[in-house]
Symmetry: C2
Subunit: 83 residues, 2 copies
């Protein structure tokens, strides 16, 4: 459920998973965030240049948030989530 995300790709994956969980398509999420469908696509595929404000907008629209914490070992649960 909580997902460790150390790379843009992992962040994109978490976003895509939540968007699908909420039964939204990229175009609808784009409307809610005032971003283009193409931009949502880029974020989800892990574009490293994605801007922080863009990311925060998307997370907010999906009712997600970041937590920042010291790096920890992945639990078995989180390993499943990542792979």
């Amino acid at each position: 459920m909580d997902q460790i995300a150390r790379t843009p790709k992992q962040i994109g994956d978490a976003i895509r998973r939540q968007r699908r969980k909420l039964d939204l398509n990229q175009a609808t999420l784009g409307e809610r965030t005032k971003l283009r469908q193409a931009t949502i696509s880029a974020v989800e595929s892990g574009a490293p240049g994605t801007q922080l404000s863009t990311l925060c907008d998307v997370l907010a629209a999906l009712d997600l948030e970041f937590v920042i914490r010291p790096r920890s070992k992945a639990t078995p649960d989180e390993i499943e989530d990542i792979f």
Copy 2:
């Protein structure tokens, strides 16, 4: 310790706090991440255009990681965010 960060500014604050905890200055952190001291300064002050790759590099150098999770219930501090 674990820090909720919903905005670029909150993310910057968490980074600055950890950098100081590790007794590093911006220039040293810049060397480790191959970023300029000026860039570290911008990230810490919450520049919304900060790129995701930049952010991930800084977090890695500080031995921090993101966790993405559903927005949590309000703590007393956060109540005004919701209402």
